[in-house]
Symmetry: C2
Subunit: 412 residues, 2 copies
Amino acid sequence: MSPTHAPAGAARQGSLRELNLALVLGRIAAADRPPSRADLATATGLTRATVSAVVEDLLAGQLVSEADPAPRAGAGRPARGLVLADHGPAGLGLEVNVDYLAVCVVDLAGQVRHRTVHRADLRPVDPADALARLVELAGRARADADRQGLTLAGAALAVPGLVDDAGLVRLAPNLGWRDVAVPALLAEHPALTEQVPGVPALMVDNEANLAALGELHSRPPGPASFLHISGEVGIGAGIVLDGALFRGVRGWSGEIGHLPVHPQGRPCRCGGRGCLEQYAGQEAIVAAAGLARAELPADTATVRLAELAEAGDDAALRALRDAGTALGVAVAGVVNLLDLDTVVLGGGYAPLAPWLCPPVLTEIAARVLTAAWSPVTVRPSTLGAEAAVVGAAGSVVRRIVARPGGWLARCG
Amino acid sequence: MSPTHAPAGAARQGSLRELNLALVLGRIAAADRPPSRADLATATGLTRATVSAVVEDLLAGQLVSEADPAPRAGAGRPARGLVLADHGPAGLGLEVNVDYLAVCVVDLAGQVRHRTVHRADLRPVDPADALARLVELAGRARADADRQGLTLAGAALAVPGLVDDAGLVRLAPNLGWRDVAVPALLAEHPALTEQVPGVPALMVDNEANLAALGELHSRPPGPASFLHISGEVGIGAGIVLDGALFRGVRGWSGEIGHLPVHPQGRPCRCGGRGCLEQYAGQEAIVAAAGLARAELPADTATVRLAELAEAGDDAALRALRDAGTALGVAVAGVVNLLDLDTVVLGGGYAPLAPWLCPPVLTEIAARVLTAAWSPVTVRPSTLGAEAAVVGAAGSVVRRIVARPGGWLARCG
DNA sequence: GCAAATAATTCAATCGTTGAACAAATAGCG
DNA sequence: CGCTATTTGTTCAACGATTGAATTATTTGC
């Protein structure tokens, strides 16, 4: 968390260098223009001598490279700009969702260097088969990455469900998965299990969490704390606090879909009554708009809904307004509780944002105690449907940027 | 937050020692028996030589002292146990509340070494007057601390309202305060403004936040993540995530009292409808139980309510059950969102916990998606009404334990 | 009384940062 | 064209902190 607390381990000599590697690399990543060594020295408070030594390590490890000297006015020896390497380590992002498989590769700078989306209804498919198909796509992505001079340093898999620390998918209701041991199933595929010391070969995480991370690291940089809501069949939220994803005690945070908005209302499949999902979930909106939901795959339903709303269809507009109001009630509660100033509507909500935002803002204005002093921003996701895969791949490279020691120990 | 992110500043030589000072001191604080230098070496991973050097610094700065050798079986030179000093720096805790002023002193080990509670109705009192009275109590506390060989290293003030970063009390509705610049008003009183480098002389914070911190550091140590709910006239929550208080973007988190539990229900003074406060706030419970609330000060009302419930009074029991159900709906939402496994009922809720817990647990069981896999504990606060002052004083000493460098630089 | 065992300290070696001096490379100016 | 001012980046002795081994201190068990 943020959180200023003592470190876990002992601070030995080497930790010092590791901290400064992270500090300098982080500055290079955050800068909007390639900084020189001298810039980094003044920005970080380190000596130019130390910065030179640190940068030498980073160059040797292929984490940064020297760019063309940035033009500068005035006299003096020209600076050599430093940028994140476009040929160093990269992250592999994977996603299994209800109606598609996706794979992408993201480099250190956060650029998407490869992407594949394979549309298919995954519900009737056995988990092992689904993962086998995904591994095939991943193999092609790896080949493409190699061709571009990138080395995959790890992989992360996004799943629409509850995942525990060991990567076991406890429950993915809309996918029909229960207790699927993803790491064990993927262990047979060497394409994914190439080891980097200190970096787990594969991380499995909730789709909403990774989408929030994708949003966090998208350019231009947004706020460090926000709520990212993915409106799919279920409604998941990723909670980003002080630049870090909050995962909860067991990693199951973000189940905003089961916040009660009408405590005595419609029964929900979770066993409660009046959960948000029953009023603002995709199926609920589609049904309220009078569309036959069985006919349509999930992702085209929202597009169709947006078309109808655009055309001024009364039922669609009413359905969206009601869903937005329910969403607003829930979001207002969250904002009161966590004091966030930004809410991002992602996933299936992104294309519907023009109609959802107004009622959400109305509820916030009415219910949030501090709304009068400082406004709450509600905006659609910038990454859209790709947020989760991109966030998954990005989480791999972000871990390297945040702690480069592990990577350098391997590729020194 | 926990959060593994890079440090803010440059890691120079001295930071290394500072980190290890914090590491060793933290171990001494967390140990249940006085550890020897050798114990600390194995526990932290540092060399015995380093631990000796670090401990020497801590001894010189009066942060730890050597205890009687703990009896040990077997041969060998006896160890010298290390404990947190009972004569070093201490924290001053202050509280202004609706019907009392409180002051306490807490030493490094977390022991309360002085306490004063002054009962008075503070609502009609001018903020400056109230603070002046508090300063008088603080002066006596300081004298008492001096007599015990303690040096006050900072102070923290708990207020039942919204506080911003600068210590300005934006709004304390039940106290009738609005835009009260506490630090400016207290600056005239030198008893509180003795400076320690790196430690702000006075911190002002929300009462619910500090109560949660008090609970976090109470012995025996509880979980690192939990929700602490203070049920007073308003309902405030302190959110502790991974051992750190989560304050929100502007420091105004925890307004659980305005979570909507009946979106179209009773209007609330916040402008919304159906807020939790209208169903589980102290005034709401007292009214539902048929007590004339105007007759009773806030704190005796809950005691009276507990007596009635104990005696089997129907109206009181019904009022508590309904309040517990409303509270449970809100708490279930929070648990779904944040994935917490512990909820602490504090403040005015503590004595009512026997009647509130069952309906809260019922709602959690019905509404929390993951309740089937891992249970949620709901329990009363161990500190009771003193949690906020003790937490305030504790926050001062905790900051020293977490970063001893500042204190040692002063008292080397 | 002596050996074994455990605790704590001492000391040369090592590693990373520091600060200043030095080399490199350019713009401006006469 | 040559000189100076200016800024960048590197080199090097010094310093501070940790390390690991050797040493001293103190007790139990035989």
